[in-house]
Symmetry: C2
Subunit: 327 residues, 2 copies
């Protein structure tokens, strides 16, 4: 994805010029640690591309891109505590490395810093509107995380409830980043709204693809073993669709496997049996179709954006690379 | 303290008209629970008085007062998790009642809502300045909490380090509330700065008084048993001053008692022995003198504020009631 490199490099350079590192060390070292774990920096890059659609000087929006990335990393730190996750991007999570208290407090200070970066933009005339978008998105992300935790305890979760949860937990931040970038670049409210829709639908399609790849992907390409979600009893789109369509016997088998923790030596048996049922029910094509619907909605929204076709091509290409080629 | 009732009542009414209560319930019920535990509502009241010094219509600043109170309650929720505190205002803490995950996530959403209230003020021309004050204070409060946790693990803490910690952890929020209120009421930057100094010094004096009362107060008046800080090995001003002045034998005794957890049946013996050393070293008058210094600095700063003497009287009276009469 070389075509997003200018945005990635500009962001990376800004990030390196703005470490948290200062006293008290126990507060800021964990923040620098998580910010340094890397990743594609997708959200800040999308914000910068949103700006670039309407104005050359996307660098002026770097503080807003930083706000989005710092916020995203704050959610990773706190979510990892709540999910008791030991690893993040192959490295120990913040609370595993520095303790739960450090995770809580460093996360808090990151959330506050995100707001400080919005102020550092030095666009006072835009601040109320930006803050409103940012607050709305931030609250929705918390609500999505709550729904995700609620669903773990809940016997029945409907597909619309699941889609709402992934929209809140992951899509609205992508959507909000694009919208903020568009407005900062001088795009009209209508186009900013279309980019929000592009991001929102792309985010949902991306999560559905994640669900599909986890069960049916090529472990070589996906970079993790197949069936991880099944092993962890995750109520993904695949599971929920299967529960919706299953005959009584299949439903009992699924409920049995997803109802308890399974000893390590029976994990493979569990994954095989669950996948067999999903094949019988034709879950994969149904999930692919759902993903396709959101993907199409994303491209439709992007198509209506009044901006240079050449620049819109960057987003089209990125969506395709993330949603199609990786599959 | 009847003279602050108009501000308390206005705030209480605003609070009741703005519950968090909506879905997902598991996210918002804990937030309403902590906001409903009550207290004097000192911080929002100070913000409203700060406004009233310069303008009659203090009600216009109610959303900013709410931002301060919601932020304060967010810190209580997260601090109680970090301090493993079971009780808050005599009731179960949020994480004891709803679980640690609920405490983390509800706290997060409260912090975001605080920013939303700053936006709800609908004073766009003031927003950059207000946000800057609020962010600075919020970051300092996190730093203060970190220092407080660091000090627990630290063998030696100097008195200036301790004073810095309590300034960050508790005083700057009081100071910031007054400053924001003054600016919102149309006060000049200089006067807002003086009110910040008043609040900052008052906050430090108030914490020193807390330390003194815990060891030497009348349990009837203070409402809790004497020596709680000693029982919990808290490194208060009294302890640090005693360690500074102690002869070798006294220092060993203090280190012994503060170095380990003590069985319940020896707690009274510990408190008596520690208090005896503090009496020998004359710690109480030294702490009173330190408190007096900050108190005087607070009154001096207030004296210079260019506002109606009658209205300033409210703050003078409040500081006296909090700092003198309760002692």
């Amino acid at each position: 994805m070389q075509y997003i490199q200018p945005f990635q490099l500009a962001f990376q350079e800004y990030l390196e010029r703005h470490p948290f590192q200062k006293d008290p060390r126990n507060l800021y070292v964990p923040a620098d640690y998580i910010m340094g774990l890397g990743g594609k920096r997708l959200r800040p890059v999308l914000l910068l591309i949103g700006h670039y659609l309407f104005d050359d000087h996307f660098q002026r929006s770097l503080p807003a891109a930083m706000a989005i990335e710092v916020f995203h990393n704050f959610t990773l730190v706190h979510d990892d505590i709540m999910d008791a996750a030991p690893l993040r991007r192959g490295k120990p999570t913040v609370h595993h490395r520095y303790g739960v208290n450090a995770g809580i407090l460093s996360g808090d200070v990151m959330l506050i810093r995100a707001y400080q970066y919005l102020l550092d933009l030095n666009r006072p005339e835009m601040l109320p509107h930006l803050l409103d978008i940012f607050n709305t998105v931030a609250i929705e992300v918390c609500e999505g995380q709550q729904l995700d935790m609620d669903f773990e305890q809940q016997e029945v979760v409907s597909i619309p409830e699941y889609l709402k949860m992934i929209e809140l937990k992951t899509s609205v931040l992508i959507a909000g980043a694009l919208k903020m970038g568009a407005l900062l670049g001088g795009g009209h409210a209508e186009d900013a709204g279309r980019l929000y829709e592009f991001g929102r639908n792309m985010g949902i399609a991306f999560q559905l693809q994640d669900d599909i790849l986890d069960a049916f992907g090529d472990p070589e390409k996906v970079g993790k073993k197949v069936g991880g979600d099944i092993a962890q009893n995750k109520k993904t789109y695949l599971y929920l669709k299967a529960m919706e369509l299953a005959r009584a016997g299949q439903r009992e088998t699924l409920k049995k496997w997803f109802g308890t923790a399974v000893e390590a030596e029976r994990e493979q048996e569990k994954i095989s049996q669950v996948l067999a049922i999903w094949h019988e029910l034709g879950i994969r094509p149904l999930a692919e179709a759902a993903k396709q619907t959101y993907q199409q909605a994303a491209f439709d929204a992007l198509g209506k954006v009044q901006a240079s076709g050449e620049r819109k091509k960057i987003l089209e290409q990125l969506a395709e690379d993330l949603l199609v080629r990786e599959a």
